[in-house]
């Protein structure tokens, strides 16, 4: 069996603790950046972009966990994103469930959907899973489009409320119709999910997943329950997509099925690959770059997706480790140490 990952995974490279700042330091730095971002960007246009960016980060790290860490070729991430968005919205509007309960239920439901697909497809090799997940995404999109009594089909659902205000005693209440607060909420959760996955991949679970990804037969000969762990990884990754969907719906305020067509899966895939599959920080960079760069290049018109396609192809051809690999190479060149140059890429 040809392995999915024989292209070399940066995840396998031994990651040195970062120099003089340390991991904790980086986390504080990121929190400060999140805190400052809405103050620097006062206009709603850029704040909107920042929120979309945070949502995309959630999607990208979730997909990377499935794809880069568990080695499962998932082309249906848009489906879990859509399930999360529609589930939370319908729970709120049709059943009157409070937002945060709906949020948790949406995450659960997306996770269960992911696990169900994974259980279903666990016997399948890479390409079969790719097509199965693609088919799953088509089915979900078509159901959203055709179950008109529930989803209003192509007409969409409008005027979805933002998350309810949080009123802490003694403090002014926090309204999420304010874009700055919404950004703090979504970015905060994206950061939280990142930390969660970071813990996971550093734990023995991460090593188990790597073992399965690299050689399933050997892994199972060590007594690892490969099927079980694959389902687990799929569940976690798609649950994060569910969270992203719930935030998307409550932020944008309208839902149409076409927001979750299979092309969306490819867009998320592009973020993961361009950033660097199999590392957690890579997809974050990929999501930021591919969300913000097109906005910067807006004057070139509809080039956005042309750019995505070109980036995806070129990265796969010339730098399969993505931006992470590029940074490693640059770093190595700065230090002029040839040993470090091979650290990021294993051809």
């Amino acid at each position: 069996m040809k392995r999915l990952s024989s292209s070399g995974h940066p995840a396998l490279a031994v990651r040195p603790e970062r120099g003089w700042i340390g991991r904790r330091g980086w986390h504080v730095g990121v929190l400060i950046l999140i805190a400052l971002a809405p103050l620097v960007f006062q206009d709603s246009y850029w704040r909107t972009n920042l929120i979309v960016c945070s949502i995309n980060i959630m999607l990208a790290i979730g997909l990377d966990f499935i794809l880069g860490y568990a080695g499962q070729l998932n082309l249906g991430h848009s489906a879990f994103y859509g399930i999360g968005a529609y589930a939370s919205t319908l729970l709120i509007t049709k059943l009157g469930v409070p937002f945060w309960v709906a949020f948790v239920l949406a995450i659960t439901l997306s996770g269960i959907a992911g696990m169900a697909l994974s259980i279903f497809a666990v016997r399948l090799r890479g390409h079969y899973l790719a097509i199965a997940s693609l088919g799953f995404a088509v089915i979900v999109h078509q159901i959203l489009l055709n179950w008109i009594s529930l989803t209003q089909g192509p007409l969409g659902i409008y005027a979805i409320k933002p998350p309810p205000e949080i009123a802490l005693p003694g403090l002014p209440s926090i309204s999420f119709s304010n874009t700055a607060n919404m950004f703090y909420l979504v970015a905060g959760f994206a950061f939280l999910f990142y930390l969660l996955l970071d813990q996971l991949v550093r734990s023995p679970i991460g090593e188990t997943l790597a073992a399965i990804r690299e050689d399933e037969v050997s892994a199972s000969s060590f007594g690892i329950n490969c099927a079980g762990w694959k389902v687990f990884a799929f569940g976690i990754g798609s649950a994060l997509a569910g969270a992203a969907g719930a935030f998307y719906a409550s932020f944008v305020g309208t839902l149409v099925p076409d927001a979750f067509i299979i092309t969306e899966s490819f867009t998320i895939l592009a973020m993961v690959i361009v950033g660097g599959m199999g590392t957690l920080i890579g997809p974050v960079w990929g999501a930021i770059l591919l969300t913000l760069l097109p906005e910067v290049l807006r004057e070139f018109g509809d080039l956005r997706l042309v750019l995505y396609g070109a980036a995806l192809t070129l990265v796969v051809l010339f730098m399969p480790g993505g931006m992470v690999q590029a940074v490693e190479i640059l770093r190595a060149r700065v230090r002029r140490s040839p040993a470090a140059a091979s650290g990021g890429m294993r051809p």
Binding site: S5, L73, L124, H127, Y128, F136, R304, L305, G309
Partner: protein, 294 residues
């Protein structure tokens, strides 16, 4: 009732035979290379646009435009292999070529969108309005006759080529075991190139025939390719006979679903079938006696 059933059967066979053409390309490439080519969709679309511009901008004959689309498809196939699959082959990854061709597909679709615009093109084949009346009120347009006849001829020719020529034999040898075939003096690189050219030529010509019966936009190929993937899996990856049966079956199922249940549900039915197939019989309709290497 019988009339309706008959009419839907005709429509099903028409679409089914085009699906077969597209899916055969995918399955040929998979058979030889064990790789999925997402850019196949855009070869279909570009084939359709090539035929459109040949007939309308240059006033060419529609039947000749099918040949033009075939040539354009073949050229694109050569390009996709030379630019994407050949450089990535030595890395031996299942994932990278797939992702790279997704990239190519996004690139081509959106470049076409910029170029041709989002408004569907009215590709009126001169044969679309001429109807042959059949028994009991059913009818078939000349366009559909052309589709079925050309597809059937192509499939028979391809089959004969694979069965009876030395090159076809070599192709099958490479599909079975690339390394051993190499030892027997077959140059796998040439045959892989040939496979891409053949497969994409099929996609191009099916585009030319799909154009008039489908909504011609830059995304036309995608709707077809997603079904072609389902067909390839239902038929068994790399299995030519299975692909032909599955393609016709999917065409018919679609057609009956449209009539009996709801046109919106066709994709759901087809893909539920795909998932069921994967769960129950992942080797496809016709189980292949190929050994799995672990």
């Amino acid at each position: 009732m019988v009339t309706v059933a008959l009419q839907q059967t005709i429509n099903g066979v028409v679409f089914g035979s085009l699906y077969v053409l597209v899916a055969l390309g995918l399955t040929l490439i998979y058979g030889v290379l064990v790789q999925i080519n997402f850019a196949h969709a855009d070869v279909v679309t570009i084939g359709a646009f090539a035929a459109y511009f040949f007939t309308f901008a240059f006033g060419g004959n529609y039947l000749i435009s099918i040949g033009v689309a075939l040539m354009v498809g073949a050229a694109l196939g050569w390009l996709v292999n030379a630019a994407i699959f050949a450089p990535l082959r030595e890395r031996g990854s299942e994932l990278l070529p797939l992702i790279a061709t997704i990239g190519v597909s996004i690139l081509l679709q959106n470049a076409m969108l910029l170029w041709f615009g989002p408004i569907p093109y009215a590709f009126d084949s001169p044969y679309s309005n001429e109807v042959i009346r059949l028994w009991g009120g059913t009818f078939i347009t000349w366009q559909n006759v052309i589709i079925v006849v050309v597809s059937a001829l192509t499939i028979v020719l391809l089959y004969a080529f694979m069965r009876f020529t030395i090159t076809g034999k070599a192709l099958r040898a490479v599909a079975q075991d690339r390394e051993t075939a190499g030892l027997m003096g077959i140059n796998p690189d040439h045959l892989i190139m040939l496979t891409f050219v053949l497969a994409s030529a099929l996609a191009g010509m099916s585009g030319a025939m799909l154009g008039p019966i489908l909504v011609l936009t830059p995304f036309a190929g995608t709707t077809v390719i997603v079904k072609a993937f389902a067909i390839v899996i239902i038929g068994g990856f790399g299995n030519v006979e299975g692909t032909i049966i599955a393609g016709l079956a999917v065409g018919l199922i679609e057609s009956y679903t449209t009539q009996l249940i709801n046109p919106g549900l066709t994709d759901i039915v087809v893909f539920t079938l795909l998932l069921l197939m994967l769960a129950l019989r992942p080797t496809g309709l016709i189980a292949e006696k190929r050994e799995e290497t672990v």
